[in-house]
Symmetry: C2
Subunit: 359 residues, 2 copies
Amino acid sequence: MQTLTVGLADRSYPIHIGTGLLECAELLLPHLPKKRCAIVTNTTVAPLYLAQVQGLLESSGVSVVPVILPDGEQYKTFETLNLIYDALLTHRCERSTPLIALGGGVIGDMTGYAAATYLRGVPFIQIPTTLLSQVDSSVGGKTGINHPLGKNMIGAFYQPKAVIADTVTLNTLPDEELSAGLAEVIKYGLIRDLPFFEWLEGNIDKLLARDPAALQYAIARSCRNKAEVVAADERETGERALLNLGHTFGHAIENGMGYGAWLHGAAVAAGTMMAADLSQRMGWLTAADVARTRILFERAKLPLTPPQLGVEQYLNLMGLDKKVEGGKLRFVLLKSIGQGLVSEAPADLLRLTLEAVHV
Amino acid sequence: MQTLTVGLADRSYPIHIGTGLLECAELLLPHLPKKRCAIVTNTTVAPLYLAQVQGLLESSGVSVVPVILPDGEQYKTFETLNLIYDALLTHRCERSTPLIALGGGVIGDMTGYAAATYLRGVPFIQIPTTLLSQVDSSVGGKTGINHPLGKNMIGAFYQPKAVIADTVTLNTLPDEELSAGLAEVIKYGLIRDLPFFEWLEGNIDKLLARDPAALQYAIARSCRNKAEVVAADERETGERALLNLGHTFGHAIENGMGYGAWLHGAAVAAGTMMAADLSQRMGWLTAADVARTRILFERAKLPLTPPQLGVEQYLNLMGLDKKVEGGKLRFVLLKSIGQGLVSEAPADLLRLTLEAVHV
């Protein structure tokens, strides 16, 4: 087991990464002094891991309120959030009752948001069970839900007390979700860690084969990269925006196709290739760099062809993105592999990138 | 004009109190560098003050998105909150677009919660137009909405950038709402400021006559009391609980009668008399203290007779209150006039207090 600390002063917390951690009660019990918690999970994860975690806690004398939600990004809504509140209120959960998120990014985001807002804030612990949530949403405290007019439009910055990432849970992850997680792993290499990008070029096949040691290394290095960024810029006023590489385009893909049609990680990969294209047009990335990026994504079995939504529809969808400031569109682009930057892009170059999707 | 500062490190903010402040653009403009804002108000306050504030800002080049909600505690719901989000998204309000709450406590609580959660947090300015909101909800950062199973169950701690309390707006306040605000003013005297309680005994008639100087003094002294408490205990782990004097009983009254049937301040006054009764049974307040308290509330024209909901119904309603910890009921009680404390109360004394309501 490896343990990292996300350094955020009085909101610092540990991330434990390893094999078999779901059997380690001692990682959870220090956060449950009142011997009571609610576990929020979904209909896919519950049959796999709920009984294990619930049994572990109950055998240590902890009473558990299980809350099982429907599975999928399309349920990241007010209505589903209300199912959590209803369960907490019906069982009279109190300010000291922690919520444990057991599942992927949607469960983590919604449980974190429920924890941020139930009784104006209760403790929150994350047990991410997908690669994407282990390397991305488990670090940084972004929580929230979607709105019919935009993804993640309603939310809060709220830090967990601890994150427990067990690589064993990745053995039940569908292949395409493993690949979606790798998209975010590769992203850390692209924006700030060239040696890690090179390590991934040498180890991507081990990761696809779910080699535990390789997974633990990749998760820990990803989390450390994200933790360094978040510690420097918790509320995304500067460097943290780099983490959104591929996300402006990716959100447009997800939103334009209907939430849930594209996996978030896959949309980010396709969006990252659009950002790479724009970076090349800005004169930064070489054609060889773009090809090298594409090859690593392809080896990770990620779909890289964005849907042909039409140039105007892309522009419209991107205009709603949270990164709009003063009506100007700013992008996370790449100076080189391993060096991201935030920049405004000329509208004509942006159009060329969008038109290239449609040829 | 008087200006107080609520001292909360990097979340500190000023409260301006005076006559005619709604005509002072210079109090608002420093918080609107992007020359854009949304004003959230309700159908009662909009005809009185929206045109004035909107016109003031527009004549300074600020574009305003007005959001007009239905009026009343019964609308402090998810559905109404969504009207705010819908308006902000439809008008593409950004992370830098402040929300201005123009109205009473419900508008302040809902607008603050919308500001805390829209795009994970946007700036927030309060223009409270009722006495209750000027002395209570404008200080402390509690925001939120009700849930069918309990009042203020969903919310966040979120501080405004500034509060502007114009005593002129109290001239349009119905008499019973002025009295409801005085209940909270008197509360500050009871829990921590005997000299203020004595000042109120001497000046309650001036306040009822809406004397501007008396109002400004009472509002400023109330805010200073609350600000001192909040600065010492922002997230209500200790002393801040004193501010809830009368609220455990008061919430039971409001909830039991249906939100909106009793004004919050009136319920707090009746609840405070129940807390005073329990304090007397604990051997702390004398019969004379209880009578003195009752007389001041009566002079403020507050209804003090709690509804006869039944002892078991009271216990049930109080069991849902956020102050439940480990199943034990804790109360804010009075050692003496001017000295509140948080204490557990024996169940038999609590029952006697509740039975006294039903004779």
